[in-house]
Amino acid sequence: MALFRLQGSRVLAVDLTDDAVKARNGSMVAYTGKMTFKRLTGGGEGLRGLVTRRVTGESMTVMEVKGFGTCFFAESAAEINLVRLDGEKLYVEASNLLCTEATLRTGTSFTGLRGASEGHGLFTTTVEGSGQAALTSAGPAVVLRVTPQTPLSVDPGAYVAHTGNLRQHFQSGVNWRTFAGEASGEAFQIRFEGDGLVYVQPSERVTVGGQI
């Protein structure tokens, strides 16, 4: 079974013994032992979502890495966050998913308005099954628990991922006014309600709606 561990906070080390992981194409920085690489495009369980969704026009591809030894992954000096799934479903921004065990299923989920506000399209990547996944974030992610008594509001640009049974909806944050009293735009947050965990990064992607 593939073993995920951190080499420092920005490098993912995966020990492989003739098993496989799926990782973002080009994220391998070094390896020991013997590895084979295979490009995965289009096919498979919802991987087409991963490939085509990005509004930036840059298509994201996924590779399968298989072999014996240790493979090191990193992505533009981003922090790595390990997530262990025991049957639940992880929702994650496609650009934040670095690597998953091959046993985990990846797919896409319609998220509606939230995605639109982020300029990230209308879909979020989902990861399901039992095993480990590695997420990237700009700065180490803070993991925040949501309970029915304590809903959470998040800047859309700082949202990375969530698990659990959560409802999300848009909420208006602030009305910008100039000193003359004229409205100068409005900011939005995502409000999470229910039971679950939300991963938030200490940084904000450029968004249309955020900016508090």
Binding site: G8, R10, T36, R39, A74, A77
Partner: protein, 216 residues
């Protein structure tokens, strides 16, 4: 050693009479005491000939000489800085990754092409840098820049290490390097591009790898 890691991105060098430090120009953040900074064309013992050779190879990074009595803090561009202490060995590092090094170290350049055949050529293409790598030999400290910090991977005769050339920072020890490509890798990244190769380092030593595929 004369270098102290103050934060992940800042290094302090103590300077005393008779102990020269070389640094990348513009990398001084602050200093106390009586310290002078002099632009250095040669960067020390390399000599003018060496310097010309390196300019041709586009490897010359402007250096300055730091002398006097005091303490100087170095950093550059908000990149991570990593201190390597040498005790007799040689460090191989691309010169634009050198933040500062002690004058007690002997500086030279090495034609990477002579080691491992086409490797230097390909790496030059990949990294946009020359075929020359800076060598620092002897006893002293070196501060190396990296995007996102570096981690050290030991290389033993039993376990070679393959590195993405863009993530390679430096190496030390008795290592041979050559270009290799793993099964499926070239098909994946596209034939003919420089990225279709990895650096294979074998022998006994240490390779320094950064947490990013981006060059500085």
């Amino acid at each position: 050693m004369a270098f102290t890691q103050l934060t992940s991105k800042m290094v302090r060098a103590d300077v005393a009479p008779g102990q020269v430090v070389f640094s990348q120009r513009g990398a001084m953040l602050a200093y106390t005491g009586q310290v002078t900074f002099t632009p250095s064309i040669t960067g020390g013992q390399g000599g003018l000939g060496s310097m010309l050779g390196r300019r041709i190879a586009h490897e010359a990074v402007p250096l300055m000489t730091v002398e006097g009595h005091g303490a100087v803090m170095f950093g550059h561009g908000g990149h991570h800085a990593h201190v390597v202490d040498l005790s007799g060995e040689t460090l191989y590092v691309e010169s634009d990754r050198l933040l500062a090094f002690e004058g007690s170290l002997e500086q030279g350049t090495m034609f990477m092409g002579s080691q491992g055949g086409v490797m230097g050529v390909i790496r030059g293409q990949v990294t946009g840098q020359g075929l020359f790598t800076t060598t620092l030999t002897g006893y002293g400290s070196v501060a190396v820049l990296a995007h996102g910090g570096v981690f050290e991977l030991p290389v033993t005769p039993q376990a070679a290490v393959h590195v993405d050339p863009q993530a390679y920072v430096a190496h030390r020890g008795d290592l041979r390097n050559r270009l290799s490509t793993a099964v499926g890798w070239r098909e994946m990244v596209g034939r003919g591009s420089g990225e279709s190769f990895q650096l294979e380092l074998s022998g006994s030593g240490t390779v320094y790898v950064q947490a990013s595929e981006e060059k500085l």
